[in-house]
Each structure stands twice: as C-alpha cells, then as structure tokens.
C-alpha cells in the first residue's frame, strides 16, 4: 500500500521512510506541504498520509484542509505528526481534517498500529463505494440483460438529443422488437425466453460503437441510440443492427432458434425541437408499421413525406427526403 510522508527535516523523514518501508509500505517522501498536496491529488496517489505539522509552503493542517475540500475523490487517511502536544493543538489538528495525531518521537510499533487503523477505515470506505456503485448499476440497468433500463436510456437520450441539437448533429433512435417473442415464452418456457433476450442484448451491444447506447425499453423491445450519426448512413446502420438478430440462429437450451426483429428508425435532425415523448411516439409508430408490413423489416419515421419502405436489402442510396 502506498503511503505519503511529508516532513521538511531530513533525519525525521529518513527515519519515517525506513520504518514504513520495513512495515511493507510503498513510501513516497516529500519535504513540504505543497508537494504533499500534489501527490495526494494524483490519480492513484497514496490514500494514507503522515504529515508533519510545521512545514514550509503549506503546513500539515493546511494540507488536511486542502485535501478535505476536494469532494469527489477517494478518502485519504491523514495522520499529523508533531512534537507539539497541547490539548488545544490536538483539537486544532483534528478540526483541520486529520484523522489521527501522533507526537514525535514516535515508537515504530505504535505508528504501525495506528496506520493499521487507517487501513481499516480505508477498507471500510472501499466497501461502501463498491456497495454504492452496485446500487447505482442496479438502479440504471436491467437485471436480466444488464443493458440500460428504460429510465436510464430515456435520461441519456434526453441529454443526447440536446447535445446533438446544440451541435447540429443527428441522433438516430432505433426501436426494435423481437418478432413473435410471445411464442417462445409460451411454447419453450420463460427460461428460454430469457436466454433469447440476453443473447439479443449481447448482439445489439456488439453492433454499436462505445459511445452509442442500448437499452431494454420493454419486455422484448430494445432501444438503440446512435449518437452523432450521419443521416445518410443511418438507415443502413439500423438495418445492419436489425439483421444482427436474424443472420444466425440463437442458441438456447431447447436448441437453436431462428428469430427476426422489426424496427422503427428516427433521425432527430429531421424533427427539429420535439419532446422526447413525441419522438418516441413517432419511432413507435414506425415500428408498428414494420409489424403491419409483415415483420422482419425496418420503417422510418419521417415528419414530412412518409418514406416508402425500401425493399430488403436496403439500398445504400436511400434518402429520407425526396
């Protein structure tokens, strides 16, 4: 574990450094408070710090205050070292944000024991952060497929639509629905249905770039958002994504299944400023049209001329405005 020591006096610094190295720490030693603060701010920097009280540039309590002001970063456990020892100074040191306080000259065994306390606190913090991250993931992701859930995908889409409008780019929204999915559940059971949904989620994720996103919109409905997507290529991209489901069978416990997907596509640049609800309603209508047209096809939601559905395979030259 990394530990920072800050002391302007070379002999005490060497003493600390060696004591801590022997205790198994990876020691970073600096000679003033300013350097100490810089080390503690580095990504992956030490999370344990022993700070001398009196130092040039920035004193120990000053380092503690500066470190505590930062909010987003991980917790740093800081111990002030000093030859001072009055009650007032102890209080002042702890009030500045230090976790512990040790008077010099310190005993190696006591120092190690106090640092173990610090490590316990840091371990506790790690566990809390991990638990919080798990909760955050669960609050924004679908349990079965691990895709973004409906709420999360809507939030991201709202933000993305604002951004693309601001930057005069286009966001492509694809709403896909697995054809005849109910039959799978009814005839092969829910477990197979779940297998299918997981595989579809993986295939959709495999089709998009790292900055696009895929969410589970409803039972067997998936929302794919292509950020900053060139409108000229959007229909081709949407078709590729849709065909990723049908181009090879999906393996399940009850054997391989040949499945298809119907999809609606909408390009935000064609719609000007519209509410998210309105756009989702439009792309849902396009999906409905694809279903009505016999499924396994793509339909495009266009505000002016309702584009006639191209025959599969989709020609490269397809344009939304004529």
């Amino acid at each position: 574990m990394k530990i920072l020591i800050a002391d302007d006096e070379a002999l005490s610094r060497r003493l600390l450094e060696k004591t801590l190295e022997r205790a198994g720490y990876e020691v970073i030693a600096v000679e003033n408070g300013k350097l100490a603060f810089e080390e503690l701010c580095k990504p992956g920097g030490p999370r344990l710090a022993l700070l001398d009280w009196v130092m040039p540039e920035l004193d120990g309590p000053g380092v503690c205050r500066a470190v505590r002001v930062r909010s987003e970063q991980t917790y740093v456990y800081m111990v002030l070292l000093t030859s001072k020892g009055t009650k007032e100074e102890t209080v002042l040191g702890l009030e500045s944000g230090a976790d512990d306080y040790l008077t010099k000259p310190f005993n190696a065994e006591e120092l190690r024991a106090r640092l173990r306390v610090g490590e316990r606190i840091l371990l506790l913090e790690d566990r809390l952060v991990e638990a919080r991250e798990n909760m955050r993931f669960r609050a924004t992701h679908d349990t079965l497929t691990s895709l973004l859930n409906r709420g999360a995908v809507m939030d991201l889409l709202t933000r993305e639509l604002h951004r693309s409008h601001r930057e005069q780019k286009s966001t492509a929204i694809i709403l896909g629905d697995v054809d005849h999915f109910k039959r799978i559940n009814d005839t092969l059971g829910h477990l197979v249905g779940d297998e299918v949904l997981i595989e579809i989620a993986n295939r959709l994720l495999g089709e998009v770039r790292s900055y696009d996103f895929v969410g589970r919109y409803g039972g067997e409905e998936f929302l794919v958002v292509l950020n900053s997507c060139d409108p000229a290529f959007a229909p081709t991209r949407a078709e590729e994504i849709r065909l990723a489901i049908s181009h090879r069978p999906i393996q399940t416990a009850k054997g391989p299944l040949d499945l298809t997907m119907s999809a609606g596509l909408l390009l935000s640049s064609e719609w000007g400023v519209k509410s998210l609800e309105e756009l989702l309603h439009q792309v849902d209508s396009a999906l409905y049209q694809a279903k009505s047209a016999g499924r396994d096809c793509l339909r495009i939601a266009s505000p002016t001329v309702r584009a006639e559905p191209p025959l599969a395979p989709l020609p490269q030259s397809v344009r939304l405005r004529h």
Partner: protein, 124 residues
C-alpha cells in the same frame, strides 16, 4: 545514570531508546547519523545568524527543525534546549535568545563527540 537522574536532566544521547524505536536497525542508525552530521552544523549556523540578527521568525523555525532532528535521534537534552529556544523565539523574547542558544550549543558540545565516538566504534 539512575532513573531519577534521567528524569531530571535526560541523557545526552539515549541510544537504547533510539534502537528500540528503530527495531535495532544498524544500517538505518548509520544513515541517521550521517544525515545528522551534515544537517546539524548547517542548521546551527543558520540559527546563530538568525539569533544574531534578532530574526525571530527564522530563529523559531530553525530551532523547531533542530528540535525535531534532535528528538528523532534520541538526543533528549539537546532537543529540550532547542525546544526552549523555540518557545522563546516564538514568544518574541529577544533578550533571552542568546543565552538559550548558548545552552543549546553547550548540549551539542557533549552530544557530537558521543555520536562521533559511536560512529568510530561501529566502523571498526
């Protein structure tokens, strides 16, 4: 020296206590003595200049540094003398500084030969 005597005056150099603190690490002890040999005279000299110039801020800072250095080394009495000097400099007792500095110098005169003798002994 008996226990009572220690409490009254402290030792010039409490080697046993230092070795205990550093888990008997002889290599580290040599390191510390080398750093001391280099840093102590330099800091003392700066302190003398500060006292001569009645520069309270630097006198306080430098005596603090010496206090830390001496107490880390287990030089109990010299550390106490440096601490006294720091208190006086911080309190602005300009007139008492000279005497306190002399007292520290006096402690150093007993300490340094003891350290040198130890180093010579270890080298052989």
């Amino acid at each position: 020296m008996n226990k009572e005597g220690q409490e009254l005056t402290g030792q010039v150099w409490n080697l046993a206590e230092l070795l205990d603190r550093i888990d008997n690490d002889q290599e580290l002890l040599r390191d510390l003595l080398n750093i001391f040999k280099e840093d102590f005279p330099r800091t003392m000299q700066s302190l003398e200049s500060a006292v001569a110039a009645a520069d309270l801020k630097n006198a306080s800072r430098l005596s603090h540094t010496l206090k830390g250095m001496l107490s880390s080394l287990g030089a109990t009495r010299a550390a106490a003398a440096a601490a006294k000097l720091e208190v006086l400099a911080t309190a602005g007792e300009t007139t008492s500084l000279r005497g306190a500095l002399d007292a520290l110098g006096h402690e150093a005169e007993s300490l340094v030969p003891e350290l040198n003798a130890y180093m010579a002994e270890v080298h052989h």
